[in-house]
Symmetry: C2
DNA sequence: CGGGTGAATGTTAGCGCTAACAGAACCTCG
DNA sequence: CGAGGTTCTGTTAGCGCTAACATTCACCCG
């Protein structure tokens, strides 16, 4: 399959007015060759200050803007990166995207995006392909999803590609927050309050982050020889947290719950409130993410902060390295930080 | 000022391996001219089925991918749109972006983004300029901000540009949710519960959305000859809502509050809870946005839903129209919908 | 059976730019 | 003063593609 999209074909009016000025136009006005203009514009090669002035004046006057297509054609570099974003309206992915985009722009790159709703081997492959058609020089896949990991197995090897939050086995460099350690910290914090065990409201099974967090929780309990309660599973949404909360109400020995994200924790709190269970008096609750709202939940939520902006910046760095020829297959971890609030106030 | 960014200049390794296959390569393998290949690939002009087969096979075998730069150079069309996003990690903007991107991709366009942290005439201008350097064919500015509106006054007229949530006076087509009407509905709903008046926690003064919501609230009260309490102002964040809530506690006649967004409403709820004021028993609260969390606040929040995905889709439609030569300067409104929940349960 | 017709294919030019080299102008120094 | 730099500027070619026109070929019809 090859590019068949012909955007706006029928609808487009003939291009308006006189075309954009070119190097030649500027050159004509400044009385130099187009090559001199190119040198001024790109600051490549020596130009007499006086000549430069004339050229710059002409550039200004004509409103000259380099034609990226022509430049890309001859240099083979488009100056654009691509980002594949899964569920990009979620807080985490959106912030990560933001971080990447900022870092990229500072380095002089443009960013093209392609979002995917339902993950899967094909959809991510399609997204990558769609970006390649836009001639991106490198790709970041924001896809903390198991199938995403599998999709990466089939990742093209002829374009630099890095992933955020991908699995360990991914055949590409991966950067992610240390979910495992974050979960461990949250669980230990809950245990430090004197509980016999900690329940876990996990995220969807096919999300790597959900798995890592669950593993961190489980390992912590097991390392201490504590009972590991059955996992309750949600889908990240507040609604699923609410439903899980209703299911948890009345469980014997329910004293501490670690939710795999803040939104589900919110649902939990809601369900507990409705059932007359008080947090933190009766049950302690911790979340994950530290969304801006978390500090204002009822009660304010103890949670694990992920610095998404930092993740975005470092991801870009990783991609840049990769584009420079480095082929680190390594997995890079950004530490997570426990933020203690009222939902785990000691009794 | 002209493009001076030279991405990855020093770091970049010489391009790896043999270059990407070109039309000529495919042509050679299929035993036809490059022009025939072009026709097959673009489905332009007649090609004998048998020839097409051969060409397609060669395309497949070589992994041919059209070179966008070359195509853009000769056609003058890049197949890319640009989106300037302000605070793109907020729920609303992120969702809008998502909607635009989806609609654009379906129509065969790629999307380049450029986010801006602090708005202002220059920063938005810079963003637009940065996108133009990426040769986008049209631009959407997501910037529900007053200064954004002003920046749009200086918008270049030689590229199709539309805005989301811009002011009425903007010299470009604007699409937005009907903030005024939404605020009116929320206020009337609160009044319908039998209150003498409704307090308002407004958003930042320099946001158009904040202004429209405030106006909707004020007009509703004034139309009924009701007392208009002094506006309390926040910055959209839960924290500012919390602070506003503390300021409101103890005000005489505080029975109903309309918050300009859900996050601030969350802060309000928090402050009220801490002060022993019960919602909805003592005070009624309504928000704006209907973020996914709103239904799970304590108590679940009555709010005004904005369909951001729809906004995104329609914005793209507007831009497409504009690119086709239409020059509707009109302002398009998407209706907002009141969602009633427990925070305004009648007493 | 010649000439018209239309479908299928090929040829050519050029989009705007940069790389690579070629030339001109100016120095420096023995 | 001229060989041998240096600095500045110009010329040429070609990136991969599509638009426009040119050509070929098969076929139909009077």
């Amino acid at each position: 399959m090859v590019d068949r999209a012909k955007p706006g074909e029928q609808t487009r009016a003939p291009l308006p007015g006189p075309r954009q000025p070119s190097l030649a136009d500027v050159a004509g006005m400044a009385g130099v060759s187009h090559m001199t203009v190119s040198r001024v514009v790109n600051e490549s090669g020596p130009v007499r200050p006086e000549t430069r002035e004339r050229v710059l004046a002409a550039v200004q006057k004509l409103g000259y803007r380099p034609n990226t297509a022509a430049r890309a054609l001859v240099t083979g570099r488009s100056g654009t990166l691509g980002v594949v974003a899964l569920e990009s309206n979620l807080y985490g992915p959106a912030s990560t995207l933001y971080g990447i985009e900022n870092a990229a722009r500072e380095a002089g790159y443009g960013v093209a995006i392609c979002s995917v709703t339902r993950p899967g081997r094909t959809s991510i492959g399609d997204a990558v392909e769609s970006l390649r058609r836009q001639a991106v020089e490198g790709i970041v896949v924001i896809a903390p999803h198991v199938t995403a990991g599998r999709a990466l197995d089939a990742a093209p090897s002829d374009i630099p590609l890095v992933a955020v939050g991908g699995g360990e086995a991914a055949p590409v460099p991966v950067l992610s927050v240390d979910q495992y350690d974050g979960a461990r910290r949250a669980t230990e914090h809950l245990l430090s309050l004197g509980h016999r065990t900690v329940w876990h409201l996990a995220g969807p099974e096919d999300w790597l982050e959900a798995r890592d967090r669950e593993r961190g929780w489980r390992d912590t309990l097991e390392a201490r020889g504590l009972r590991v309660p059955a996992v309750v599973r949600g889908d990240w949404s507040p609604r699923s947290g609410y439903e899980a909360g209703r299911a948890l109400v009345g469980k014997r020995g329910l004293k501490a719950v670690f939710s795999a994200n803040d939104q589900m924790a919110l649902g939990l709190l809601r369900a507990f409130t409705e059932a007359g269970i008080r947090v933190p008096e009766d049950v302690h609750v911790a979340g994950f993410d530290d969304v801006p709202e978390a500090a204002y939940f009822t009660p304010p939520l103890t949670t694990v902060r992920q610095d998404f902006i930092e993740v975005g910046r470092r991801t870009f760095g990783l991609l840049q390295e990769r584009m420079a020829g480095g082929d680190a297959k390594a997995r890079h971890l950004v530490p997570a930080e426990l933020v203690v609030r009222d939902s785990t106030r000691p009794r």
